[in-house]
């Protein structure tokens, strides 16, 4: 299986990212509005979105934000929320193992949950161009930085109530991604149910984020891996 990295693949990734902006943009706008509320300037907001590029950890860090900032506290917040990304890069080894230099480290810099999930789905459908991941990540990054900047600029104007339908776009994008990853009831229902149930149970115990997410994800993945490895030849 030959893996390539071409401008055509990058463009395919960019095209796949366009609809995702509908889910990312409202979240980015919210992060921009909250950045403004915590006293970050537009330049500081742009820097945070540009170098961190991870909405959940940005939101958590902003919740912990003090003036002057506690550097250790926000770094730990970023580590705890983003530790879930550690296995994500390794799970994309089917493409990343064939890359070197800026193509590899750049693709990893732009890696987020959305581009990860879509790349796994694209690989399953036969995509063999690793530029897809890079293009998707880069486009998502541009959209994210632009959305947080827009949120910061429009801070006082965007006074939508928390139950506004637009805020459902973030959840809707995750629901659509989940459907894209669906393989079949026998393979997916038990690990997905375990993941969902254990995440909600851990949340009910009032354990702090991102523990509910991590416990759910690893519980479901462990079950799926156990079922797969006990039946040789039953790989996805």
């Amino acid at each position: 299986m030959r893996i390539t990295f071409t401008p055509a693949g990058i463009l395919r990734g960019v095209r796949s990212g366009i609809p995702l902006l509908l889910g990312i943009a409202p979240f980015g706008v919210i992060v921009g509005v909250i950045s403004l509320r915590h006293g970050l300037s537009l330049a500081e907001t742009l820097l945070m979105s540009g170098v961190v590029f991870a909405g959940a950890s940005q939101l958590l860090a902003l919740e912990l934000w003090t003036n002057p900032p506690d550097i250790l506290a926000v770094a730990i917040a970023a580590l705890v929320v983003n530790i879930r990304m550690v296995p994500i890069g390794a799970a994309l080894s089917f493409w990343l193992d064939h890359l070197r230099g800026w193509r590899l480290w750049g693709s990893l810099f732009f890696l987020v949950d959305h581009s990860f999930a879509l790349s796994v789905a694209a690989n399953r459908k036969g995509e063999r161009d690793a530029g897809y991941l890079f293009g998707l990540g880069l486009f998502t990054w541009i959209g994210w930085v632009a959305a947080t900047a827009a949120g910061h600029l429009l801070g006082s104007v965007v006074a939508l109530p928390p139950e506004h339908p637009l805020f459902f776009a973030a959840t809707a994008s995750f629901v659509a991604i989940l459907v894209a990853l669906w393989r079949g009831p026998r393979q997916d229902v038990p690990p997905w149910l375990l993941a969902a149930g254990s995440a909600v149970a851990v949340q009910a115990l009032h354990l702090p984020p991102p523990l509910p997410l991590l416990v759910g994800a690893f519980a479901g993945a462990t079950l799926a891996a156990w079922r797969e490895t006990r039946r040789p030849g039953a790989r996805a």
């Binding site: 900032p69 250790l72 890069g89 659509a176 989940l178 891996a225 790989r235």
Partner: protein
């Protein structure tokens, strides 16, 4: 366009830690040969991760969110178009809100 040194430092620390999670994990896991179970675990991580995400997101929202997820998921199963699925989800949510939910 002010940039305070302490805020800049805090943001750069966050960025460094995040890049370590993104790239460090891959670099370490590539250098060591992963046993078959760990390999299967990593390959199977995406879907449970998003299942947990969706379950947690819906658990923090009202019934309208769970109901709006149904046409969103159905649209994606039918047309595999992310933009359309998200628009349908948001439209369903707007409709439910309009109906008083």
């Amino acid at each position: 366009m002010t940039m305070r040194w302490d805020v800049t430092l805090a943001i750069l620390a966050m960025g460094l830690v995040t890049y370590f999670c993104r790239a460090g994990g891959y670099a370490v896991l590539r250098a060591v040969r992963t046993p078959p179970f760990l390999d299967a675990l990593l390959r199977n991580l995406p879907a449970p991760l998003f299942a947990a995400y969706v379950a947690l997101a819906l658990s923090r929202q009202d019934m309208a969110a769970a109901l709006a997820s149904i046409p969103c998921a159905a649209a994606h199963a039918r047309w595999s178009n992310f933009g359309l699925s998200i628009v349908i989800g948001v439209a369903a949510m707007a409709l439910l809100r309009w109906a008083g939910m």
